[in-house]
Symmetry: C2
Subunit: 339 residues, 2 copies
DNA sequence: AAAGCTTTTGACACCGGTTTCCTTTTTCGC
DNA sequence: GCGAAAAAGGAAACCGGTGTCAAAAGCTTT
């Protein structure tokens, strides 16, 4: 008789159903070699007892657990959370769970820390978010430790089975083309920081669009930021104080675009009448500043879901997807140039 | 001889060190009853092999695992992430890991879903974020399932050992007093949604401050929102169109405050000259709108850390803390009333 | 040197599942 | 109705740790 007030084990089920543990195990794992009779009998007992297999015991016996990890260095809160939701979409109704692990990109012991983490937790696989997803040594570490991994990024950083990528370059190109089509000619760029693949992709997209239309990009129409608000403010200040003021700015992310808003406001420039601004990310701040920011959004949640599926069900169709289109979210920070 | 290319187990260590498993186990667990000699000998082998105990096996033997859960219904991305960081602060250098589990507050099967989650994962304990932390049935469920829990909230929803709370009421009271001291008399309130404890606390704080100074709060000086941006815009619109326009607004969160900014802008009201606004949360948007929003911030990260410590090291001093002071973050959306 | 403690160590069962391998039962062709 | 193959189910070992308890070793004490 199963002791009451304790969670039932496979032994309790077996005893009550009058079968062996192994048979119960077969029922749990939907093994084919089972008579309908025993199956239903065991299932009834399972239901009656409210038996749920112990995940730790299962993990031990199977020599693999059901934990997915999320490695990130807070690219921005909304993104991290959306990815988490996407992963949850993928693992809903499975036995997997999601373990989060924020890291510090600048820590000199980054790799060591992550190695310890992986050793300690023995995860089934990890998802790596940008910007640390761009770290190849990290991917190698996962391989070496026998831990599955999928990187999220803005370009094809890895094989199809290890990457879920947006297409920043193409989308920025389109966004800038949109500005050009509206009549803008002097368009400035606020770049992201050195060493970020996303910054590079967005810059290349920008330059490609300008070149395709034969528009020059003088040095004073480019400024570099750190992806942070303040840096956007500074960069935009420099751009707007140039002798030939741009009529439009593409900022490599929304936070810097918000900074550019402030710079414009300080100079009494009206958006979008005097200055059009496009950002990138479609973060919450984009919708909450005034006027609402036109920006490029990528399907973060879907990408998170796809990444998780790549790890836990690589066979499935949805897990094959590796390239996701971003799209232009038109709001009110863009208009035709004045005059 | 330990087979190469496989992660070493306790047996490998025992064999190589010429001792029993149990002795190795003692070394791992820092048991006191061990001679210095054997300890160093075993430790050397552990280091040489790079042995790390298997967490699943440990969990099984100890009948408890080392997983903390975070249950939340995205109050706002920044908050969730800060709590995650706080928890990580607490569990750094321990064997604990953090499992996240977003839920849908409005799902009719909320409790059932969480029950299944808890059954399936057998977590050591969970942290529950507002607003679902206000759900008493959920806390009972945890108790019933033998899962430790700590609620984060804006008031004392539970015993000291189960709660980490800010003190919204008091802080709002102070914030409103600050407005009053600046000379404001017609101060309006944008409330949060019905049924949120935080909304109630903040409203009570507001009303208490007003009453303490003998200021009336007519119905047209109160409007209710949903904590979302759009609702703040609508609520503020109503408030600002009242015959006796308020000179200041307290919004129960930053998103709604941002909405109020837009409403003011639509009416050509200058902030803070024509209208002062105070928000609550100190979310990123507060710093990125123009002018930067004066708001009330609570120490989310520290609270997350304290909550985690309550679960994993209830004895420690830092785990005793259960009440955290919020503080007024002064930026530029508040000034004395005109005239 | 033997007895009596205390300290250190190991043998073995156990946690709750899965796997391997073997036995029993059923089905089926002839 | 019989033998063989297939299907169903069980016994025991195993995954990699920890708990119990007793044995061994070391140290006093008489």
């Amino acid at each position: 008789m199963p002791k009451s007030n304790k969670t039932p084990t496979i032994n309790d089920v077996a005893r009550l159903a009058g079968v062996s543990k192994k048979t119960v195990s077969r029922v749990i794992n939907r093994s084919a070699l089972l008579s309908e009779d025993t199956r239903t009998k065991v299932e009834e007992v399972i239901a009656k007892l409210g038996y749920v297999p112990n995940p730790q015991a299962r993990a031990l016996a199977l020599r693999r657990n059901f934990l997915l990890g999320l490695l990130h260095d807070n690219p921005n809160a909304q993104t991290v959370l959306k990815v988490q939701e996407g992963v949850l979409d993928a693992i809903r109704d499975t036995e997997f769970a999601l373990v989060v692990r924020p890291v510090d990109r600048h820590s000199p012991t980054l790799l060591e820390d992550i190695r310890r983490f992986l050793e300690l937790q023995r995860l089934y696989g990890v998802l790596i978010l940008p910007p640390i997803s761009e770290n190849d040594a990290l991917a190698e570490l996962c391989l070496e430790m026998g831990c599955g991994y999928v990187r999220l990024g803005s370009a094809m950083l890895d094989d199809e089975e290890h990457i879920v990528a947006s297409n920043d370059r193409e989308m920025v190109q389109e966004a800038v083309k949109y500005l050009i089509d509206l009549g803008h000619r002097r368009i400035a760029l606020i770049e992201g920081p050195e060493g970020f693949r996303s910054a590079l992709e967005r810059r290349e997209g920008f330059l490609a669009a300008m070149e395709a239309h034969g528009l020059p990009v003088p040095p004073e129409a480019r400024a570099q930021g750190t992806y942070r608000f303040e840096s956007g403010l500074e960069a935009a200040s420099r751009l707007l104080d140039a002798p030939e003021r741009p009529t439009a700015i593409f900022a490599s992310n929304d936070e810097m675009a918000a900074g550019a808003f402030h710079a414009a406001r300080q100079r009494d420039l009206k958006i979008p009448e005097d200055l059009s601004i496009i950002g990138f990310d479609d973060s919450p701040v984009a919708a909450h500043i005034w006027p609402p920011l036109t920006t490029v959004g990528w399907p973060v949640r879907e990408m998170g879901r796809a990444a998780a599926l790549k790890l836990i069900a690589p066979g499935e169709e949805a897990a094959q997807a590796f390239r996701f289109p971003a799209r232009l979210v038109q709001r009110q920070s863009v208009g035709p140039p004045k005059g």
